[in-house]
Symmetry: C2
Subunit: 424 residues, 2 copies
Amino acid sequence: MFTPSLHLPGHPHENMADAASSDPVAMGWMQGFPPPRDRQVRWDDASMWRFPQWRWGFSHMRALLPTASIPREGPVSSLPRALRNDLDGVELTTLAGVRMSWQQSLAATYTDAILVLHHGRIVYERWFGVTRPDTQHILFSVTKSFVGLLAELLIEQGKLHETLKAADYVPELAGWGLGNATVRQILDMRTGIAFNEDYAGGPGIVSDVQRMSMAGGLLPRPAGYDGPDGLYALVAGIAQDAPHGGDFVYRTPNTQCLQWLVERASGQSLASLITDIFWRPMGMENDAAIAVDRMGVAFGGGGLMAALRDTARVGEMLRLGGLWNGRQILPAAVVARALRGGDPAAFAHVNYPGNPDGSYASQFWHRAGGQAMALGVHGQGIYVDRAAGVVIARSGSHPVASNRGNMGVTIPAYDALVAALARD
Amino acid sequence: MFTPSLHLPGHPHENMADAASSDPVAMGWMQGFPPPRDRQVRWDDASMWRFPQWRWGFSHMRALLPTASIPREGPVSSLPRALRNDLDGVELTTLAGVRMSWQQSLAATYTDAILVLHHGRIVYERWFGVTRPDTQHILFSVTKSFVGLLAELLIEQGKLHETLKAADYVPELAGWGLGNATVRQILDMRTGIAFNEDYAGGPGIVSDVQRMSMAGGLLPRPAGYDGPDGLYALVAGIAQDAPHGGDFVYRTPNTQCLQWLVERASGQSLASLITDIFWRPMGMENDAAIAVDRMGVAFGGGGLMAALRDTARVGEMLRLGGLWNGRQILPAAVVARALRGGDPAAFAHVNYPGNPDGSYASQFWHRAGGQAMALGVHGQGIYVDRAAGVVIARSGSHPVASNRGNMGVTIPAYDALVAALARD
């Protein structure tokens, strides 16, 4: 989860326009030739990182940032349709005790688009706001789960070793916080590093997340900027402030470090790996893209942009143990390890809404019921419930960056939907 | 033709490394994780606009600039292959009197990739340097010919009128240089405006081309920048300095103005029009992209990025009078008007190498023999010779921006190739 958010109120929805009144079509963002000044969503004034502007921007990130291409290839793999529009009426009760329908939950979570697969068939699909089937919506930290899968694949291939340390692969990290963390500690975000993953920040404070965003080019650099140049320079400049191997603490530099290990161990860039392992062989419908810093390093912590049906295909491939489009995309052992979950004791202190007894491991979030989640700020997600045969892909533009802002609705909604599908 | 080039020697090849010694693979641009500082090609230090860095950069512009997506769709249209590797040995004499083979001419023109169609079959195809079939190479001013075709289409549809003035469609232009130029004068670049299309510039001088590049985001803006914000603001701020309707003078703001008329008259963005008219229906192999300024306005003057086989398809569609992939992509009347050429008397003063008695009209260059050329700086081109049944698509990274730097080789080479194909 990541966003260089500016100051947001501490309480979800406080002073925030609801989904209908912040609808990006109704607000007219970026309409007209050129759009009027007060309807522009821009990189250079950071307006792309403001609500409600980002309800347009998250669907158009590649027009705001430089990107590496992740091309598709060949015939499109089939996603058969068996639509169940009656699902709109499924009832649920949010963690705050509010009764609402599934359809209402989509507005309550500022959902941009959502697709539900049940045993491989599309049973539900909706496009809101400015989204269309070919929209390359930013996935934010869902990107991390791709880096995690690639790391697990390299471990399986013997190119990365769980117990070796980051500096064994990237000598530049020696003496810095992540250098003496193991591959496994980094994969599971159980490192002790001096980085505060606070998205909200505050007026006048340059947060760690904003520093990372300037290093990576997501935010413009002020005149006289003397911070790190590039995502890897940022990663290599973070100190250790606690022992590694302790509790899970969600910090994006772990993933950026993991990407560094993956690129060095494979000799390929992240964009090239995602292309070769996922996008070309899976029969994707659309090209994907990934934001890159000023020296071409991809933002593996949160920069992937993809069409929703393609992220759903990734979820379905995981549900099927790595098999998709007639090919074994990932070895079954890699998928099993990525989805097996982590240590609930290391996760308990997080008190994550909707996820009691859950865990985090291999760059996935896990529920006690065995469901795996790739999660990105503002409501991005791939939800894989193998027991129920359900995969849900969702993009969103929630006013609150942290998914704590929507999980109180999302989890009861998903549980109610899965129960309804099981009944029929 | 366009590039925000920095100072270049006045004489082609003077002090310039040849194609082999400037090969981007051999030079190792952007290799490594991250690439070493002296091997980086970047936007923020303008190194992307330096030779030989641009031998890598022109194949990776979307990783350096924000872009709008131009997605493909559906099955790929067929380009049958009937390769003629013997063509490498075709002999030619350059305008400077140098004898060389076709193969040598490719190095002499710093060709990145080239594809020759003869009666619809690929007879020759080569990939050099960092190019591959899916490389979205920058087309520079080949982009203009797309804007020209769209303008001719809107004229055919009655949405634009050749004799109306720019300010009739875009009131913001009233009182400025292009406001009282007609649609036809702008299409044919026969306007009298105070803009110097000098790519080379000089040390310490901010040229008009550099001002345009800063307005459009192709170059970073210096601290305290108070120039135009966006490509349209630049266009609307250019004065008239001569009567409209005089001789042809090549100036990119004409095209940027034409794009403005096209967008206002159609109600669609340029990226959306290129998608709907060309990319979706033509069975393209790859997505294309187009650079956008900070408010999302596409750089129709030179920002299109596309795979070579797809630009070849556009050339073949033009050769076939608008028919491609089983569809009439453009009305035959539109293609006929775009390729009919202009007034040689208005072109003669240009003394363009290799193009005596040529002309410029509808955003295409025309030879006296009836061949039409879409041309972009540094050697980009689509060459359509309807009489000979030949289409040539080429991308390049020549050290000299203006095609004056390569036409003395290019034109004799193309003529020799066409003659060889006619003989067999």
